[in-house]
């Protein structure tokens, strides 16, 4: 199926899937898989059959199974054999994939986190080396990459490749728990959206004046802190909601995190509900104009945002070991 056809199909089916975040993400997965198949067929026709086994994974909001209606692409490749030939093959497949995704409606990633970039397209053994390097280096950039990779979810190919690499991270973290402190520092800073009088701190200038940045102020505290706790507990799940549910079922977190999944689900729902109205510009989609909310919704939203801050404080004390878990 050519990209244009997938694009059309995606546009036609769209409406049906925009009412629940889960539904929408099942649909996104389906579309991305189609794109992968289309790219692969096109690539095989031009460059011959796939030389070895591989896994294609998505990261970012796609990895966490919480994409909005529009979301940019973040993905990478793992392949079995290390050779110049496989490298060339999978890099050009990655290029094809990025172009295809872009054409279908997933804009290129500004940070170049795509299978067309050698950093995100490697053989299994190179991936292991790279991850160990990121784990030990502890520089700003390596920590950022590590956190991005940690949300990787294999969509096509060998799921075990992803699992094994994830295990490598978990083993390292278990042996070197101080790494979590360093990761915590990296994700501490986020834009507060509720002030001391419990007022919304909206953008005061620019075209988003009157809006809050839902990504930075709403999602970041939940996503980042839940990811850290998941890493601490060696969870395999990548979705924030699943991570939360798994954490809440553990006796040591039950009391402090049981409310959290509901709040996050509400956040996903608000984004879905209010972004249908906004333009289809990727930059706009992160902003929520509070004027669009009614009184109860505002109260609800404040609650969600404040609870994000609460979760942040809680995670901080868990990681720093001031709370026994």
């Amino acid at each position: 199926m050519p990209y244009s056809q997938i694009k059309k199909w995606r546009e036609d089916k769209w409406e049906e899937h925009q009412y629940s975040s889960h539904d929408l993400n099942v649909f996104h997965d389906e579309v991305m898989k189609y794109v992968f198949d289309a790219s692969l067929q096109k690539h095989i026709a031009e460059f011959g059959p796939v030389p070895c086994r591989y896994a294609w994974f998505v990261m970012g909001s796609a990895g966490r199974f919480e994409q909005a209606i529009i979301s940019d692409q973040d993905h990478g490749l793992i392949y079995e054999e290390k050779s110049d030939e496989t490298k060339r093959y999978f890099l050009s497949l990655g290029k094809e994939l990025s172009d295809g995704l872009n054409e279908v409606g997933y804009p290129y990633c500004d940070g170049n986190v795509m299978s067309s970039n050698p950093v995100w397209s490697r053989s299994l053994i190179e991936w292991e080396e790279q991850l160990l390097k990121w784990l030990t280096e502890e520089s700003f950039e390596s920590i950022r990459f590590l956190l991005i990779f940690y949300d990787a979810r294999v969509l096509m190919g060998e799921e075990t490749y992803g699992k094994n690499l994830k295990k490598l991270i978990h083993d390292y973290v278990q042996r070197n728990p101080h790494l979590l402190d360093r990761l915590l520092e990296n994700t501490q800073h986020f834009k507060k959206a509720v002030g001391i009088f419990h007022q919304f701190l909206t953008e005061s200038h620019g075209s988003h004046a009157g809006s809050i940045d839902l990504k930075q102020s709403g999602f970041f505290p939940y996503v980042n802190n839940v990811r850290l706790l998941a890493m601490k507990e060696s969870l395999e799940a990548t979705s924030t909601l699943t991570r939360l549910n798994e954490l809440s079922s553990m006796s040591n977190y039950k009391e402090n995190l049981s409310w959290c999944a509901d709040e996050f689900e509400k956040l996903l729902q608000y984004r879905l509900q209010y972004h249908k109205k906004t333009t289809e510009n990727y930059d706009d989609i992160h902003y929520l104009n509070i004027k669009e909310l009614n009184k109860n919704e505002r109260k609800d939203m404040k609650h969600i945002l404040l609870n994000g801050q609460k979760l942040q404080n809680y995670t901080q004390s868990v990681i720093k070991g001031t709370i026994e878990t």
């Binding site: 009088f197 620019g206 009157g210």
Partner: protein, 424 residues
């Protein structure tokens, strides 16, 4: 002994004049720092040039209009082209007094030009410098300081919250309305963009120079050094500036969730502007309160003008206007019986509403006069000069080049020009 006092007073007045003239340097840094690189040279240069022009106009007619004899309702009518002669019975050199007053007229004009920033033609600065110094400033100054009708009512404005700051701010207000916002300031959907200044350190340094200069502005306004009263005036001045900065930090942190630096700087200046009227009439605790309120007021005033879609690049309307009004009213509340050498004590010192009423009337009439006359003058200029504003192209390339043919930061721009040439 009288001779010594005469000399000391004169030295004090000239020192005051020096400090106030140095404030022009503060304004250069404040205004250039709060605006973009491409206009920096222009802003610095026009400040020097318009002060020069205003000095000559003040010598020719301004001084005579304010302090001259044979006065009518609006102005005095003697002492034009002031020769430097000593007025009889003055406790200080009249020439020193002239210099001190000249410096004030220059400050009011520079405040007015805040409303012109980044878009007015150089010729508009030239013509308005003359008109403002002849028609606008002297009338308000005469009313309050030159023995005019507001002086007779006992209007308290020790060093010029109304005369200097509010008058300048009202002219700036008229100018911003007629000039319209800078390109890119407001979006189609009504939201406003932040056009960031290019150097926050300049802006802060400008504030500190103004702060220090203010000791000449307020302290010098005692005119005489007997009993060291200027020390008390300086003390009140400093307290208000400090309280303004602190209040602005607190309010911006509470409302925006972060302590905004431009707001803090505006807060210090607003404190200074507000205490200017009342520094000699109120107790120290009141000075702190007056400055504190000014720091909060300036924060909301900036938001208010932004909402009105008035583009005020260096916040002249809020810092000098809103705080000027508050400062003038504040003596009607806090002036003490011992210190109120002009007018009556304030509301909180048993003076009832009478002084507050005088202050309110004075501030409204002065503001109205300054606004209406400035608006009319600028409107006429707009017609006659075929616009007050540079063309869109000139505004985009910047006034350094469009008005002066040279960059304030040559290396920063010429390197780019060359690159573009090579690329083409």
């Amino acid at each position: 002994m009288e001779d010594i006092m005469f000399s000391l007073n004169s030295v004090w007045l000239v020192l005051g004049a020096l400090l106030v003239i140095l404030m022009q340097g503060g304004f250069i840094l404040l205004e250039a720092g709060s605006t973009r690189m491409k206009n920096a040279g222009h802003i610095a240069g026009k400040t020097v040039f318009t002060f020069g022009l205003a000095s000559i106009v003040f010598w020719a007619v301004g001084y005579g209009f304010i302090f001259g004899g044979n006065s009518n309702f609006f102005i005095g009518l003697s002492d034009f082209f002031y020769s430097g002669e000593q007025a009889e019975g003055m406790a200080y050199s009249t020439a020193a007094f002239f210099m001190f007053q000249l410096a004030f007229a220059g400050i009011s004009l520079t405040i007015a030009f805040g409303g012109f920033a980044e878009r007015a033609k150089l010729s508009a600065y030239l013509v308005f410098a003359i008109l403002f110094s002849v028609v606008v400033y002297p009338v308000v100054a005469h009313w309050i300081w030159g023995g005019g009708w507001l002086a007779e009512h006992g209007k308290q404005d020790f060093a010029g919250s109304t005369v200097v700051h509010l008058t300048g701010a009202m002219a700036a207000f008229a100018a911003t309305i007629l000039l319209k916002p800078r390109i890119g300031k407001f979006n189609k959907n009504g939201t406003s963009n932040n056009i960031f200044g290019h150097n926050q350190v300049y802006t802060a340094l400008g504030v500190i120079i103004l702060w220090v200069g203010w000791f000449g502005f307020n302290g010098g306004s005692t005119f005489v050094v007997d009993d060291g009263f200027f020390g008390f005036v300086a003390l009140n001045t400093n307290l208000a500036a400090g309280a303004g900065a602190v209040a602005a930090l607190i309010i911006s942190w509470m409302v925006l969730g972060k302590s905004d630096i431009p707001t803090i700087l505006n807060g210090a200046l607003a404190g200074l502007v507000a205490i200017t009227a009342s520094c000699a009439f109120v107790e120290t605790w009141a000075a702190v309160l007056i400055g504190f309120v000014a720091g909060i007021l300036v924060f909301y005033s900036v938001k208010f003008f932004d909402r009105l879609k008035v583009d005020d690049p260096i916040y002249a309307l809020s810092v000098h206007g809103a705080a000027g009004v508050w400062g003038t009213l504040s003596t009607g509340l806090f002036a003490t019986p011992e210190l109120a050498t002009v007018g009556k004590p304030g509301l909180f010192y048993g003076g009832g509403f009478s002084q507050l009423g005088v202050q309110a009337m004075g501030v409204s009439v002065s503001a109205l006069y300054a606004f209406v006359v400035s608006f009319a003058l600028l409107y006429a200029m707009k017609k006659v000069m075929k616009g007050l504003r540079v063309s869109e192209e000139e505004e985009i390339i910047g006034l350094d080049v469009s008005e002066h043919g040279n960059y304030g930061y040559p290396e920063a721009f010429i390197a780019n020009e060359e690159k573009n040439r090579i690329a083409n």
